[in-house]
Symmetry: C2
Subunit: 317 residues, 2 copies
């Protein structure tokens, strides 16, 4: 099965289980950006982020025996929420390994979806080891956050939908954490338009993918402070790195202030709540980090933001 | 021309000039409300509110001589913004008479649209007199905020679109200021479904329409403090009162706290920014003020909220 066939199969599998999110368009944003901008609003997706696409696609392919034993995942937030939500809908047990400093809203949402939360300390514990332990002791199936062909294919359905609705894009931009979203989207986009330019955006302080691509090998950045908690991944995956090497035009970076300016514009002008990680594409656009194009597709990847963090973002320093 | 024909004509006239706003649907809201709720997202309308529908419909019918002389309007905000925006697009001069304590964002937006702002003091000056003076001295055309058949017809196109998309609603609810929106929407709704229940929502401290309907005559409430600045109108219009008498099932009221709870739910769960006035329908629903129905249409009438007010709404007292 080709990568593209896998994405088409994911789309069939997900139909009716997730939202087909709208493509938002705003004259304010077009004027600010000097381009026609088409925003795929994954902040309006079930669970508040694109992550349900990959998680649901993976869980729908578990064997009856695997479903019996349940799943485990580690995540700073949106992936955990997605796995908890997908597991609840399919009647599976789910344990989510989450950092103790994860946004409170995300912890609460995972619990509200019936997920069992296992907190760990970023500085002292390995989430991979905690998850591996559950796999070994209870036979749980690990649902990786990004480095899995079915997760990548699921995320790619976002770009598939965007390109169906707006076929004549000149470029596509998406946030980059571990690379699952951008990899799936690039595969979907290049199946339609082999020449479409695909750009990834990372926080300047967590630009492990940019560094890895420059060095030509997977390289970790362990100290990666940023308000974009969804993009703090320390290094790309094996699969996602290889796809990004082949399919990305470039990775550009943005500062936390630029992310917050994008959050404010999206909220106050476009009236849509996008979390800092999810606003990375718009931040890069407004900061002038992307080459000028006529028609740009942007993935707004999520909208789960703590009320206190949002209030702070709206209050002048 | 019947009321309904006037709405259909407005729809033709407005096509391509305003957004056909999406109908938002969220499982979170459905679960919180115990009903299927379809939100017509006029907060995503051009100018950030439904008001452009009526204003543009009115301005498109000016004679060449009237266009030459320009327009004037008085408004606490969203109507002023809509008139300024419509006037700019049609190349007319527009003066907007606005209270000096109007939300800063709304004043700034009117100016950004090229409107000339004339500030007045709510306590000491009459906005009607200030506007009348401009009509007399400069021959400007007054664009009333609600009590005009073409304004009412324009606003009604919001319900027309909602019912085209979701034809089998059991009830419809919308915020009530001067009654332009609810009147137009009730006329549109009852042309399709004569038995559909239409409810209006007012702030408990600015319930002039509820009082007027009870007393059977237009009655003013002059002291009407509420965070819902768009619903502070002191009394209904002649036309809107007559329509509301015939077409509304009831007016229900909500407190400022209930409005803010609705703003928070819409923002944090549905990821869409709705100002307190615009959230009145959802507030009434969540507060249990509406009879239980299976499928409810709600007009989210606007999304223009000052960042500082929004930050305060997100911060626990």
């Amino acid at each position: 099965m080709s990568d593209y066939e896998r994405i088409l199969a994911a789309r069939e599998r997900l139909a009716g289980r997730i939202h087909r999110t709208p493509v938002l368009h705003s004259r304010s944003l077009d004027e600010a950006a000097g381009a026609e901008v088409f925003c795929k609003a994954e902040n309006l997706q079930r669970g508040g982020a694109f992550k349900i696409r990959g998680a649901m696609n993976r869980l729908l392919q578990l064997s009856p025996a695997e479903r019996q034993r349940g799943v485990v995942a580690f995540s700073s937030g949106n992936h955990a929420q997605a796995v908890a939500l997908a597991a609840r809908e399919l009647g599976l047990r789910a344990t989510l390994v989450m950092p103790h400093d994860a946004p409170r809203l995300k912890l609460a949402a995972v619990r509200a979806f019936g997920g069992q939360v296992l907190l760990y300390d970023r500085a002292e514990q390995s989430r991979e080891a905690l998850a591996a332990d559950l796999v070994e002791r209870e036979g749980r199936v690990l649902v990786p956050p990004f480095d899995d062909p079915e997760i990548i294919a699921g995320q790619g359905t976002a770009a598939l939908e965007l390109l169906e609705e707006v076929p004549d894009l000149d470029a596509l931009v998406a946030p980059v954490g571990g690379g699952g979203l951008i990899s799936g989207c690039a595969l979907a986009a290049h199946a339609h338009h082999p020449k479409l330019d695909v750009y990834g955006v990372e926080p300047a302080t967590a630009a492990d993918v940019q560094l890895s691509l420059r060095l030509g090998r997977i390289t970790a950045i362990t100290d990666n402070p940023t308000i974009a908690d969804g993009l703090r991944t320390q290094q790309p995956g094996q699969l996602t790195f290889a796809i990004m090497q082949r399919h990305l035009r470039a990775i550009v970076t943005v500062s936390d202030d630029e992310l917050l300016a994008a959050v404010r514009l999206l909220l106050l002008r476009m009236k849509t709540l996008v979390e800092p990680s999810g606003a990375a594409g718009v931040a890069a656009l407004l900061a002038g980090r992307l080459p000028r194009v006529r028609r740009l597709g942007v993935i707004l990847s999520g909208g789960n933001m703590d009320p206190a963090a949002l209030a702070a973002a709206l209050t002048p320093a």
